[in-house]
């Protein structure tokens, strides 16, 4: 940790992560001279270390299982998650939740739908929330980051002031505020709210690593060869900045699923529950939690395992891409 400029620490931390991109290219060059090979790509050398890392493998297996489940759950699920075969067992006053029975190993939910099927199919919407929130956050953050990092000057100053203001609101609070503003809450508003939080973080990350490269040798060389400004930005600076963005994206997949659950809990989530989603299932289970804790526990466990999988992958990727830990 450098004690240099005692400015806002949250920015510094993001910038620290961004700096790992600048460092990698010198290290790749070193590896090339030692091995006397034409050079090992960043991805190849990271993969070499990741392949033997049990933490990464565990995370990758969890993630893979999750994706496979999301793809095939409609075929595995014994019942239609939107149909209500147990509706005649739901007694509003005495017994709102049908218990386990033949054909319905986990019983039903408060609308008489098969809980196991909803849990299985819920993986689909959960994956969609995670992936789209990450993609939206990445797209927004990258556009701002490229604007700031490529142009510099007043564009940079303007973009970064906006980013700083967004960073001055605690992140989850920003997601709550945005979701609360939606006049008609839906899956899309949830995704946007969760993604918006990530935009300033991605923007700062990308801008940091692009600035670090502006005066590096390979960019100077490209400029000297007369490569157009657009190609310098997109072919030379951007690809070298992707490392930290990939790491951050993996971690964001986890946080966006958890944040979406928090939104549902506060009543800011998607009110349409025909297509189940774990966060929404967990959030809406709160009213039955004392008599039927299993309605909350199962979706919560699914979220925890999947979030853990993404986090394990992200953390080991960060280690693999960090020049400090490459030896």
């Amino acid at each position: 940790m450098s004690p240099t400029n005692p400015m806002n620490r949250r920015k510094d931390r993001i910038d620290d992560l961004a700096a790992t991109a600048g460092g990698t290219d010198t290290l790749v060059r070193e590896a090339g001279t030692v091995d006397e090979k034409p050079g090992v790509s960043l991805i190849a050398s990271a993969w070499k270390r990741l392949r033997r890392n049990p933490v990464f493998l565990l995370g990758a297996v969890i993630t893979l299982l999750f994706v496979v489940l999301a793809l095939f759950s409609p075929f595995i699920a014994p019942n239609d998650p939107a149909a209500a075969p147990l509706i005649d067992q739901v007694r509003q006053q005495t017994n709102p939740i049908p218990g386990p029975q033949p054909g319905f190993p986990l019983g039903g939910d408060n609308a008489g739908r098969d809980f196991l099927s909803r849990l299985l199919v819920g993986s689909q919407q959960t994956l969609i929330v995670g992936v789209f929130a990450t993609v939206f956050g990445l797209a927004g953050g990258m556009s701002l980051g490229i604007l700031a990092g490529a142009f510099g000057g007043w564009v940079d100053a303007l973009v970064m002031r906006i980013v700083d203001v967004l960073l001055s609101i605690p992140s989850l609070l920003l997601a709550f505020s945005i979701a609360a503003l939606a006049s008609r809450p839906s899956q899309l508003t949830v995704i946007i709210a969760v993604a918006a939080v990530q935009v300033p973080i991605f923007a700062r990350l990308l801008r940091g690593s692009m600035l670090a490269q502006r005066h590096s040798d390979h960019v100077l060389a490209a400029r000297a060869l007369g490569v157009s400004e657009r190609a310098v930005v997109f072919r030379h600076m951007l690809p070298n900045s992707l490392g930290p963005l990939i790491v951050q994206s993996t971690l964001v997949l986890a946080t966006s699923i958890i944040d979406a659950a928090a939104l549902s809990f506060l009543g800011l989530g998607n009110p349409d529950d025909r297509r189940p989603e774990w966060g929404a299932m967990l959030g809406s289970a709160q009213q039955f939690i004392y008599d039927n804790p299993h309605l909350a526990v199962y979706p919560a466990l699914c979220i925890i395992v999947v979030a853990l999988g993404f986090t394990l992958m992200g953390e080991s990727l960060r280690e693999a891409l960090d020049p400090k830990s490459r030896r």
Binding site: M1, P3, P6, M7, N8, R9, R10, D12, R13, R161, D164, V165, S168, I169, P170, S171, L172, L173, F176, S177, A179, A180, L181, S183, R184, A254, I258, A261, A262, F265, L266, G267, L268, G279, L282, Q286, I289, Y290, P293, A296, A300, I303, I304, V305, A307, L308, T311, L312, E315
Partner: protein, 335 residues
């Protein structure tokens, strides 16, 4: 040092001003606004128009903002429309503020008191059984949704086994209020049973809120101590034959704690957001639950005050962290 603080204060004013501007225009530009929230969907057009006019919502947005800013500078943020109809929004903030501060303080205290020693021990025996267990625990801690953990604690320790109270800030003991910090009030007025009751109510929400800061601070401490332990000056200190205590205090911790201080400051922002969830579960009556109510009801006045206040608190804490940084690290002071 004074110049540094003044510059940071000016920056802070700028950030808060831009934030107020963004927040104001953004809140006003959305459909389904305050009027529908107060009157409901079935109000007649006449009553809607009357209320729109009474609230000044018929004027251009920038006129509304100028008026808002003028009043805000005088400490008038308007009246709550839905959370506590008619109550002054700033008063709501101040009446709820002590509860959240109390909760955040205890959470952060739990997190710091556990995380730093455990992080140090973990780093000393890196890759041992305890270390691996703690690293896994910290990763799981981040993956658990805060409100679910809060529910789990409440269900197990308050509902099933009556160890701690289910909700609220204090039993009704007829306690005297001085500062509205209930634990402190009990100590000041020597009504110690009041303090004890308030503490009991704090245990579960504090633990729930402390998990994420604990996990983050623990991991930063661990990583930072591992890095410092490899430094030459630590080896020098060891070979000079200094006692383990001196090395730990003066060489390792003093250097390793720099990034930890930063992280603690950063976590305070997260505490505020976490408080929204934890306070709702435990019905704690702080800023968090007021925010949750304001979100649900689109109470703009309350939302504005609370979000601005959260940002101000966050920025102020970051300033304090930077000052603490200058105190710990003499290199920063010389600049």
């Amino acid at each position: 040092m004074a110049r540094f603080i003044i510059r940071r204060l000016l920056q802070m004013v700028g950030v808060v001003f831009i934030l107020s501007l963004l927040l104001f225009f953004w809140l006003r530009s959305l459909p389904g606004g305050t009027v529908s929230a107060i009157l409901g969907e079935r109000a007649t057009p006449e009553t809607r128009a009357a209320l729109t006019k009474a609230l000044g919502l018929d004027q251009p947005v920038w006129v509304q903002y100028a008026k808002f800013l003028g009043r805000a500078l005088r400490g008038d943020f308007g009246a709550s429309t839905k959370v506590l109809p008619g109550a002054d929004a700033l008063d709501i903030f101040f009446s709820r503020f002590p509860a959240t501060i109390e909760l955040s303080f205890f959470s952060l205290a739990i997190a710091v008191v556990l995380a730093i020693p455990l992080g140090y021990v973990s780093a000393r025996r890196a890759n041992g059984v305890l270390d691996s267990g703690l690293v896994i625990a910290s990763l799981v801690g981040v993956a658990v949704p805060v409100f679910f953990l809060a529910f789990l604690l409440k269900y197990q320790l308050a509902v099933e086994h009556n160890v701690f109270p289910v909700s609220g800030r204090q039993d009704s003991l007829g306690c005297t209020r001085v500062t509205n910090f209930f634990v402190l009030d009990g100590l000041l007025t020597r009504e110690f049973d009041c303090s004890v009751s308030a503490l009991k109510h704090l245990v579960l929400p504090s633990i729930a809120l402390a998990t994420i800061p604990f996990a983050v601070i623990y991991r930063i401490t661990r990583a930072s101590v591992i890095e410092v332990l490899g430094e030459d000056y630590v080896r020098t200190a060891e070979s000079k034959g200094l006692t383990a205590r001196v090395i730990r205090g003066r060489h390792v911790l003093r250097n390793a704690l720099l990034p930890v201080v930063t992280t603690i400051g950063l976590q305070t922002g997260g505490l505020l957001a976490g408080a929204v969830l934890t306070e709702t579960v435990f019905n704690f009556g702080g800023i968090g639950s007021a925010l949750a109510d304001a979100f649900r009801n689109r109470d703009y006045a309350v939302l504005q005050v609370l979000i601005l206040a959260a940002a101000v608190i966050y920025v102020v804490i970051n300033l304090l962290v930077d000052i603490a940084y200058a105190v710990i690290d003499p290199r920063v002071r010389t600049r």
